[in-house]
Symmetry: C2
Subunit: 628 residues, 2 copies
């Protein structure tokens, strides 16, 4: 497993080839856990000038962290597209060869390294989540040498029946591409193939890296050809993300679709744009922004579409729309619209108020990465990458933004309440919008009360919302916060990272807070301590013992994770406790807290059955559907 | 999802059918995490008179706990076979209908409940481990209703593309049987089918339970027919575990094999028995004991075969044999044997000193659950279930036990050392054998220094060793300890449960200690604090940063997990710190510590690169094999 002799000038070790590729695609952090089949590759990782090894406390947490990292990187890349307009010229891929060597336009990529069997299977739920939520993450698995694989030896970290492909097969439904490297010939090409797939499909990919291939020499020159073809920018409407040029016939089809939409637009009195997850994931947020600015249309976001573009009421933001569980005022305005342009919809139950969109199909236009739907007409291969800029040019301004939105459902007015009372969910979320959030904050919310509560918080310009609404794996948000913190360090804009989680959720993954401390990161960790699984209680089993959890002393968590060690000097930390509304207000007004210059816990005690109103509604809808 | 009306007298809800089956098979604890697709089934669980719900902090931990539970149950069932001899009569299945309604003879079954997608995939590494290590665990997954499945709705906890079978398929290589319940007709039969498979194959099985099937009525009468056919006891040598009667031809074949072995036995000067994992897993420990007692042969255990029977030198125990990495004295004696009878071998790398058995094939007999190997001759279908009792009758005593073993390599003599020195691995493990372990202790060891170190500790009669040597997933031992503790409560013999883990390993799964506290359990948690992943350092990267971990304050862990809560009053706990050998000796001599009447942490500081000698050897062998 030791390094062979000198490489020729035109060669690079396969392990370094992989790392160079990741670096070209903007990856600066590789998350994972060491294991005996990835250790020599790790030597290359720690030597690499552009990539930092982020050892996590376990593999599932590492996968979540890589996911959170990719999401925030994506949001930052979207924001970097300032002032891009629909008039960008063919062949000019804006971000190509940009400041941090990022190739392939606006894509945030995450990367994870585990070891055969035990490591990769521990991480698999995080990879499945990235698949469900459309986040490109490369899962690299260090496996036994090709020789040992062929001998079918009963190695540790195997099922005891030789090295079969069971683990790789377990990844088949939850990754968009897989490569099982077996020799020098095609290894580099295989790496490129799955990276391109991950980036264009916005899904995770899987790579098994045998110990004996880490140091095989491959052609260095190949690195000069970008993984994502040179001529491609995702914002470039003459070239598709796959590198395919738009042909004349395709242009005609595009023009036809634009005309169709224009006709409906002109006839509509009150059109709106509804921005959803895939706008962010496929890197077209800036194109949506251009459309909204150009047409002055009122826009709304879904839970998964939040902060795709600045949620600024002055620029037409009307609120968060979630069907039945929307704020009543938002629901009323949205549902009386006579033309709903949905961009990047991901219509999962929790993202749509349990499938409760009431729009007549005649009033619906859906723009997707790979197709367009206009009323009942389906147009395959008409992608929003090309359609959005065309629409921004074609559609006439509607000026409905000039009527200031009645109520965006994100009031910064905090409901009245007594200072000595326990904090209520009803008061808490508007308070966050009014008194905690600042421009450029990253706000990570957990499945449960937080993902629903945050829908009632105003998010300032430049903020990034991170929330796994569809996959909904509790516990994910804490390690995702680790990834978010590290992504934030890669931008020159100072960003605070704030996690909202519950005691029921953070227990699953809490050790990753130790990694934050070890790396000197400075999140604000808000723990809503309401004694158990509130979201489950609202669905079923309000007082059932199975919705109880152990009782953690959240005030002592940071000190548990902050012991002096041979290579570690404890860092400053601060833990805050708000048992009453008055205490919470004081903390929020405290400059030390707001400054976020050290890692902080803010524990807020809440009543076990108190929940955001929209979650109460969702709980009932879920229970009904399960019972149906 | 609510309960339908009254059942007919001859009916039972499917959910209860499943629970009754589990109870019949000795399952008293169901481990898992609640999720919205398993909540109504959980109502039945908490109502069930024989089954307790053990809510864990996350699903992977729950899977490990179910595995640890099954292992200790298995060991206890093996021990309950006191005085069984080779003369047990056909048709008399000893444990049938035994004291706790256990059917199917000597099988420890574990059970796990998770929710669709997020839950089941989080647990999958633990299930794969049970597969590799031959532990029967039923993984029940609460999934969306059959109706929702058919609608292909984009539910949360799905990949967003409708409810496909991806998650079930991910289980296909790591379970021995799977049932995807879809209707009333065959649901009960399917449950029985996979339970029988799990028990006879000693492997995990998978069951998906849709929300709408939990309360369908099924025929109650079916419960009167045992899952494992009534006439079958695994110790009964006229009936195979599958229920198949032994035919005349098979009896002739058996007699032939017995004769062959007898011939070799008579000609051997110094035969030995080497007891391995599958003796325990397939419930034949008592038959091995009968053979050893009847023939007075000297016996050895592999790492995975430890405590299959009492390791009593007075009864012929000669030590732990692990090929190259064995204690030198043991190695010498074993390797000069001229006939090695291996029972239940599982020849994985870490269980064999990296495949370093030197035995000429002419001197080897292997007894397995499904076949027998005599020198070069392979006899399919000749199972140790039938062969062991026959051999115990046929083989003449060898009396080599009368020579007291020279040195069993498990000296209770602790190497000399200064009281002010840091504790060394070399001294630590003999100390545990000499000064900590008592009869009936359960000793759980973690992958890493502990699994190797324990090979140098003497284990008293009645002790149970729990160690996942082949799968080797770090972190598993802590939740396995939870399962072990609960299994121990099911026997009338008081048993202490002692975990040995390292700071590198426990960080992966530490929250499960909170569950131990919540349930009032009283383990001794020995944490070898040596600042990182020592086992990895010995394989590769001695001082590499990737083998470092965060710095935890182990002395404050128990208080972090022991906060007062609305339904929880903090329990007594105690944390001990041994920075020197003198301090460790004092703690071991302390009656309060030895009494184990509360949960305790014993943190032992050790040098980062200190490791048991056998692990140092193993590290070198692993590195060589990876490099080959």
């Amino acid at each position: 497993m030791s390094k062979p002799g000198q490489l020729a000038d035109n060669e690079v070790y396969l392990g370094n080839y992989l790392l160079d590729r990741l670096a070209q695609l903007g990856v600066r952090c590789l998350y994972g856990v060491p294991g005996d089949f990835n250790l020599t590759f790790l030597d290359l990782v720690v030597e690499h000038p552009d990539i930092e090894w982020i050892g996590c406390c376990n593999e599932l947490n590492a996968a979540y962290a890589a996911d959170g990292y990719a999401r925030v990187k994506q949001a930052q890349l979207n924001q970097d597209h300032e002032g891009s307009q629909a008039d960008s010229k063919p062949g000019q891929a804006k971000s190509q060869g940009g400041k941090d060597k990022t190739q392939g336009g606006v894509r945030g990529l995450g990367a994870l390294l585990t070891t055969q069997g035990v490591g990769e299977l521990s991480a698999i739920n995080g990879i499945a989540g990235a698949y469900a939520e459309r986040v490109p993450v490369l899962h690299v698995v260090g496996v036994a040498s090709t020789k040992l694989q062929k001998s079918r030896a009963v190695l540790h970290h195997t099922l005891g029946d030789g090295l079969t492909r069971v683990f790789e097969e377990a990844h088949s439904g939850i990754t968009c591409a897989r490569a099982f490297l077996q020799g020098a010939e095609d290894a580099a090409a295989e790496i490129d193939r799955i990276l391109l797939a991950a980036l264009t499909k916005a899904r995770p990919a899987y790579l098994s890296l045998p110990t004996d291939l880490v140091f095989i020499p491959v052609d260095k020159k190949r690195l000069e050809t970008p993984v994502v073809p040179d001529s491609v920018g995702f914002e470039n409407h003459d070239v598709l993300p796959t590198g395919k040029k738009v042909q004349d016939e395709e242009k005609k089809r595009l023009a036809f679709v634009v005309k169709e939409i224009e006709r409906l637009w002109d006839g509509a009195k009150d059109p709106i744009v509804l921005i959803d997850a895939c706008s962010i994931r496929y890197g077209v947020s800036h194109l949506v922004r251009d459309l909204v600015h150009a047409t002055k249309v009122k826009f709304y976001t879904t839970p998964m579409g939040r902060t795709a573009i600045d949620e600024d009421p002055a620029n037409g933001f009307g609120g968060v729309y979630v069907g039945e569980i929307s704020d009543a005022a938002v629901k009323e305005v949205v549902e009386k619209s006579d033309l709903v342009v949905m961009v990047g919809s991901l219509k999962s139950d929790f993202n749509t108020g349990e499938f409760s969109y009431p729009f007549p199909q005649e009033t619906v236009i859906e723009l997707h990465s790979d197709s367009t739907l206009v009323q009942y007409a389906h147009y395959p291969d008409v992608s929003f990458h090309v359609l959005l800029p065309a629409l921004a040019k074609a559609l006439k301004p509607k000026e409905n933004v000039s009527q200031p939105p009645k109520d965006v459902g994100l009031s910064t007015t905090v409901p009245e309440g007594n200072k000595d009372e326990m904090v209520t969910q009803k008061a808490f979320w508007p308070m966050m919008g009014a008194k905690l959030f600042k421009e450029n904050d990253i706000v990570v919310t957990e499945t449960g009360t937080s993902n629903f509560g945050i829908l009632g918080s105003a998010l300032p310009n430049g903020a990034t919302s991170v929330a796994a609404i569809t996959w909904g794996a509790i516990g994910a948000a804490t390690p995702m916060t680790l990834g978010a913190l590290l992504a934030a360090q890669e931008t020159s804009t100072p960003r605070r990272t704030i996690l909202f989680t519950g005691d029921g959720s953070i227990q699953l993954t809490l050790q990753e807070v130790a990694t934050m401390i070890r790396l000197g990161l400075k999140p604000i960790l808000v723990i809503l301590n309401n004694d158990g699984y509130t979201i489950e209680k609202l669905i079923h089993g309000e007082t059932a013992p199975y919705n109880d959890i152990p009782s953690f002393d959240w005030q002592s968590m940071l000190s548990f994770f902050n012991a002096p060690g041979p290579r570690f000097k404890p860092l400053p930390t601060k833990s805050w406790l708000a048992e009453t509304r008055g205490q919470l207000e004081e903390i929020l007004a405290n400059e030390e807290f707001q400054k976020a210059d050290k890692i902080q816990v803010l524990e807020v005690r809440m009543a076990p059955l108190d929940a955001p109103e929209n979650l109460v509604k969702q709980g009932k809808l879920s229970a009904e559907l399960n019972a149906a």
